[in-house]
């Protein structure tokens, strides 16, 4: 590993100033669960490592039932899944952040890091997509906000410019009757990379699916939303047959490759299995969320 400079800015201005100055040779450090391993293995280099954990906006987790959830880019997974109200409102997200790494990793790993690594197999990505996440980016020139679905360009590639960093991830408050789930397939139960990941979200009103989102991981150069799967669901009552139609649409949208973690045929098959199961779980959760909730004393 080569020697590098380390800076830990205390404000967003300071951070964007460093990035504007250093440009492509700078790397932002959140929990470091990707970056440190990559640098040690020589897969990524940096002249300046910018530790973003001391920037207040990037370390903030804000939730209210009207405006939704704002997650600072450096907030570790364990802070998300241990937050009771967040866990109740964003079940798909919680599925994902609970299975990224072991407990020690969850205390470090952040969603900002997961989206910037932009692995097609990143576990939080399909979950964030079905929760309709947006990202706020900042540079010395100002800020821009875009849907997460527009953030990814290819494996390891995003629209983030060298002088920019992700400030926060924003998830709208889910409507009544909302349910979501994230499922992945791994040969081992933990400590593994998704062969396929599927996020699903539905809104149930009067027994019908009125909104739906399905997102896939590890079957395309980026995580993808599958509008055709959503179309197969909207306006229908949930049923095994309807789930199967959506699953078939998801399979058609997948463009899997063969690598050491799985074959293209296996991945396309698993997209169908997991889409069906994720939808079933999302609908179960949507039904539970419609039940009268116990009121806090």
């Amino acid at each position: 590993m080569q020697a590098f400079e380390y800076v830990a800015p205390r404000s967003l201005d300071e951070a964007t100033h460093v990035l504007a100055h250093v440009g492509a040779e700078a790397r932002c450090l959140g929990g470091g669960t990707d970056l440190i391993a990559q640098m040690r293995e020589g897969r990524r280099s940096a002249r300046v490592v910018v530790d973003i954990k001391r920037i207040p906006e990037l370390d903030a987790l804000k939730f209210d039932p009207i405006h939704g959830l704002t997650l600072g880019a450096a907030v570790p997974c364990s802070r998300i899944h241990s937050h009771g109200a967040v866990a109740a409102a964003f079940p798909g997200l919680i599925d994902a952040v609970s299975l990224i790494g072991g407990i020690a990793i969850q205390n470090r790993a952040s969603l900002g890091g997961n989206i910037c690594t932009a692995s097609p197999a990143g576990d939080s990505l399909p979950a964030l997509l079905v929760h309709n996440a947006h990202v706020l980016l900042a540079s010395a020139q100002g800020t821009r906000r875009l849907p997460l679905s527009a953030f990814f360009v290819g494996p390891g590639k995003t629209v983030l410019r060298p002088d920019e960093l992700v400030v926060q991830i924003e998830l709208p408050a889910p409507p009544a009757g909302f349910g979501a789930a994230y499922l992945r397939f791994t040969p081992r139960n933990e400590m593994d990379i998704a062969v396929v990941g599927v996020g699903a979200a539905v809104v149930l009103e009067n027994g019908l699916i009125t909104q739906a989102r399905v997102a896939l991981g590890a079957v395309a150069p980026t995580p993808i939303l599958v509008p055709e799967a959503a179309e197969a669901l909207v306006g229908k009552a949930p049923s095994p047959e309807v789930f199967a139609d959506a699953a078939a649409a998801a399979q058609r949208a997948a463009q899997p490759i063969t690598d050491m973690r799985g074959t293209a045929e296996q991945r396309r098959h698993l997209v169908g299995v997991l889409t069906w199961r994720a939808l079933q779980r999302a609908v179960e959760r949507a039904r539970v969320s419609q039940l009268p909730q116990p009121t806090a004393q």
Binding site: P187, R188, M260, H269
Partner: protein, 767 residues
Amino acid sequence: MTVLEQERIQTQSTSKTFRVIGRRVPRPDGVDKVTGRAQYGADVKLSGMLYGKVLRSPHAHARIVSIDTREAEALPGVKAVITGKDFKPAEDRVERSGEGVVNYSYLSQNVMAQDKVLYHGHAVAAVAATNPHIAEEALARIKVEYEVLPPVLDVLEAMREDAPILLPNLRTRELGEPVSDRPTNIASHEQYARGDVERGFAEADVIVEREFRTSTVHQGYIEPQNATALWNADGFITVWTSTQAAWDERRELSEILHVPISNIRVIPMEIGGGFGGKLNVYLEPLAALLSLKAGHRPVKMWMQRDEVLKATGPTSASVIRVKVGARRDGVITAAQAWLAYEAGAFPGSPVGAGMGVIFAPYRLENLLIDGYDVVVNKPAAKPYRAPGGTNAAFASETVVDELAEKLGMDPIAFRRINAAKEGDRRADGPVYGRIGYIETLDAIANHPHYRSPLPAPSAPWCRVGRGVASGFWFNWDGKSSASAIVNPDGTVSYLEGSTDIGGTRASLAMQLAETLGIDYTDVRPMVGDTQTVGYNDATGGSRTTYGSGIAAYHLGKAIIRAMKERAARLWDVPAEDVDVDGDTYCYGERCITFKALCAKLEETGGPLSVSVSVDTHGAIPALATHVVDVEVDIETGKVSILRYTAAQDVGRAIHPDYVEGQIHGGVAQGIGWALNEEYVYDADGHLLNASLLDYRMPTALDLPMIETVLVEVPNPNHPFGVKGVGEVPIVPPAAAIANAIYRAIGVRMTTLPMKPSAILKALGTIP
């Protein structure tokens, strides 16, 4: 957490009561290990120490055209660079080493490539520098020109006459003699034969014949290989390292470096796992040569995880064909097997052991077993816990299960009809002593696990099944030495030379305490090195608690003889008239305890120390029977282990916790081998999954609580009845799981690992 009832079944002759043996006493190294104070190789720090790194081949098979190290040598902080040219050729001679044999010429070429690289990750140069980062930077400045050659990565491909040849001088040997002058990748062909298999098959009512394949797998020890070496100005070499075999490594260093063994001291540090993978040198000779070249400064080296996976271990992939016939009454009439094992880059696969394991649980009149040792462009295979046994039993025990099914018999009842017992002859020649195979079958047949119904599937897309399989392992005895100092306070300082890889400091100290009739806590065990204690064979082959246990027993007897003389001197009576009962020494009415006698050492002749060396014999093989319940998700192909019970003849459990721990460990590794572990290569021979993320060993979340039944059929050749226990637990799991999967989904799995995609293919779900 669930605490499982661990069962012990003792035969009548084990009812003898012991003072120490059979108790679950605290381990002597426990506090140091849980507080992080135990000294591993990574903790070695010497003044003036340099750091060494290895440059490894990016190709699976290539000729080295040239190596230019000048830019690396010019880098400030670099103190030495070595390549194959720094090694004088070692003798092309084969000797027993660890659990197998070693050819020093091949070993030398394995630690540093000479004119050819034979696998992805083969060492081609090494650097020592003032810090590891400079050493790494220096590696990037070494220019190696390769002429890339086509690799051969599969045992059957390698056996073809037109296959690329790895070692131009290799000639096939049969029964130790060369049989052809043609260059080949087939290092040897061996055969075991008895009776007439053709007649046997003619007598059979049912015959099952299948071909099996198993993948390359790694031992998966958590501590990477490491070595620190000082080649001193006086010509003496000291090596601190993680090893199972300090004396074998001393011999190997002597042969590779051309230095007499008396000039080499190997100090085994605490070891973070080995499983057979730490019986031979890798970094040790490199560190020593770098130390010499750097002006006698100590050099420390340790491997990164990818280096461990690319260049150490693994054990053989294999192709095995098995044909077994049986009569309608359940008697096996003939058994035939053909085994081809990948040796990796140099001859030495455990195919011979596989040939011995494959039908070992059964009494056979007609058998024919052929085994081939074949080189391929993969790392040189090293022993892995019951080397070759898991592959072999996966094949034979699947066929045995299918025969039982075809005959409509319970798989345990079928095995019981054919079970080998004392006096039966093994395929590899020896006649069985008092083995306890039938007892393990009965233990499983009577176990609540086997007698209970299968649980219901957890989802509509899941199926459950139960499988059984048995396993055999030879067990080794070997040579051991030990020393003791009897202290005036009544304690005994006990120096033994077997690396403690599975709790043997405790199990050996217990045997010494039992012999002396004193408390376990009054024996203070310590592991010595090649300079401080007599010769010890490797910690391997399930020999330590047996062979070094016999050394502990003889050491205790020698102490007792000396203490009788001290008592005799105290009372001025003849030593032969002093009687010993437990820790009490008596002459007529006069008695003194061991502890009180220790206090009188000064006045009865001064300090007392004793050493013994023994060449032990009489190890008896271990046999085991396992039962497993699995659940298969037929939509994803994933197999979950629901319940696992292992019954094993352990002779006598000296320390039951450690015996159970050995069984848990072996079963856990067997489950990994069965379900997900494999080396994944591309067509050019690059190892694609050289990380613990993608080399999928099971984690705690993939394993059930493993139930054990310790069946104690004592070994009459050992003072306390010990049989080796450490290796046989890895032999049955793959077959037991395959048999359970068959019962769940109706498909016979014949390839390891039985990973999700393989299950889906077997079900016809995916192409």
